[in-house]
């Protein structure tokens, strides 16, 4: 059974700990908010200037002065605060945000990440990604393991322009969970039913395969 984006989000939600301030990037990371384990005290930060971000508003309650970094209409939960962009990135740069989850085009075996620019194609800009990856204590990448051309996104060295260097700590894909260690990508968990061979074939960089590799579990 191949995992989908929601499974990746579910697995990442297991990384959440009570007391975490979390910044979720656009795409798969956004889905993590749907799977916060009950009872955990978590606050979501959106870098355009809100802490304590809530779900989308009920229809008719949309407020143009209340959006997230993906420019989507949102709500504010009790205990929320609004602030300017400098304060917002101060939270990020000052490592007050505990966890950043974002997507990537490539991650290298030393934890470099590329996710903002494909030379020769349209460049939309890095937004807040460079600040986030240069600052966060704990960065998890959420992505599909191969790109649309079938090439692995877990590489020895990034070929695309970098967003940040040696910053990614963990990667969760539809095939496995990897930690960045000194030697490369350490295989930590595999998706239910996936073989080491499948995972190896989808990993272009150095893969470290320990003796025991538990399957991901989805208690939710």
């Amino acid at each position: 059974m191949a995992l989908d984006k929601n499974h990746i989000a579910k697995r990442i939600a297991q990384e959440l700990q009570s007391g975490y301030y979390v910044n979720l990037g656009i795409g798969i990371p956004t889905l993590v908010a749907n799977y916060v384990p009950p009872g955990l005290e978590i606050e979501f930060q959106s870098e355009n200037g809100i802490l304590g971000m809530g779900p989308f508003p009920v229809e008719g309650q949309e407020d143009p002065d209340l959006i997230n970094a993906g420019k989507q209409t949102i709500t504010a939960l009790p205990g929320a605060s609004f602030f300017d962009s400098s304060t917002s990135f101060g939270m990020i740069r000052g490592q007050h945000v505990d966890l950043t989850v974002l997507g990537a085009m490539e991650v290298s075996e030393r934890g470099d990440i590329a996710n903002w620019k494909i030379p020769g194609k349209l460049v939309k800009g890095m937004g807040g990604a460079m600040d986030l990856v240069a600052s966060a204590k704990n960065i998890i990448v959420a992505m599909m393991q191969v790109n649309r051309s079938g090439e692995s996104k877990l590489v020895s060295h990034c070929s695309l322009p970098l967003t940040g260097v040696a910053c990614v700590k963990r990667i969760v894909t539809e095939l496995a969970v990897f930690d960045i260690v000194k030697e490369g990508f350490l295989l930590v968990e595999r998706a239910p039913g996936e073989t080491i061979e499948t995972i190896q074939n989808a990993t272009a960089g150095t893969l470290i395969v320990p003796d025991q590799i538990p399957e991901m579990r989805f208690s939710l």
Binding site: E47, R93, M126
Partner: protein, 232 residues
């Protein structure tokens, strides 16, 4: 009290000229100075360098200036969602300088606060750091970034008073407070313009000293870029 009120947007933008550098507040379409942007279009000032987190959409925000090819250089962190922008960038009509969002915010604040330069980790080891000084502090690498200054800063607030004090609402705050005073002339448009003393001095986000001209905007469409809702 020093009065900052001007009659209208025309007075507020008096002195703006071709080739100037203009900071424009807002994130996406939220908190953008709609009235000042419309006036820039009407005035047909050209060859502008715009410093703004985004470049609007095709038919709103800074997109309106792109339609008229009034922007020569765009300094921003993210410029998606705009096909006009793409075309002008690809054709070479438009120069684009991409800056990490937090760095952009801090560079505006630095100008506002008289800090010529600061170190940030953002962009270290990437092309953003090319040609810039880097330095290690406490075992980590940082990039030296200098303040952004402008001729005009155009911001949008929720409430303001005659003394130029500003209060923002929700996430429409974003870059607006940081651009106030980062330019030679700061122009604030507000939804509600009140007499001095009407705002609680404890609740003011931007003290009037950072604002040169304030006026009540006539029209705020406040367009939503991504309307996401839950069913009732």
């Amino acid at each position: 009290m020093i009065t900052k009120t001007v009659a209208d947007v025309a007075d507020a933008l008096h002195g703006i000229q071709n080739g100037m550098t203009v900071m424009v507040g807002g994130f996406g379409l939220s908190g953008i100075p709609e009235n000042a942007i419309a006036e820039l279009v009407r005035l047909e000032v050209k060859n502008l360098t715009c410093i703004s987190n985004n470049a609007g959409v095709d038919d709103f925000g800074l997109g309106l200036l792109l339609q008229k090819k009034q922007i020569h250089t765009m300094i921003a962190s993210y410029v998606g969602e705009n096909t006009l922008f793409e075309q002008q960038m690809i054709s070479g009509e438009l120069e684009v300088i991409l800056t990490p969002q937090g760095t952009l915010a801090e560079k505006c604040r630095a100008a506002q606060m008289g800090i010529p330069a600061f170190y940030t980790p953002a962009g270290y080891g990437t092309e953003v750091a090319e040609g810039k000084e880097t330095r290690e502090f406490d075992g980590k690498q940082f990039v030296l970034e200098t303040a952004y200054k402008a001729d005009f800063a155009l911001v949008k607030a929720w409430k303001g008073d005659e003394a130029g004090n500003l209060i923002f609402r929700g996430t429409a705050r974003n870059f607006n407070p940081l651009m106030c005073g980062a330019a030679t002339i700061t122009v604030a448009e507000v939804e509600e313009l009140l007499p001095a003393g009407a705002l609680n001095p404890n609740e003011i986000h931007v003290p009037g000293i950072f604002v040169n001209r304030i006026f009540k905007g006539i029209r705020f469409e406040k367009r939503i870029e991504q309307r996401t809702v839950q069913p009732k």
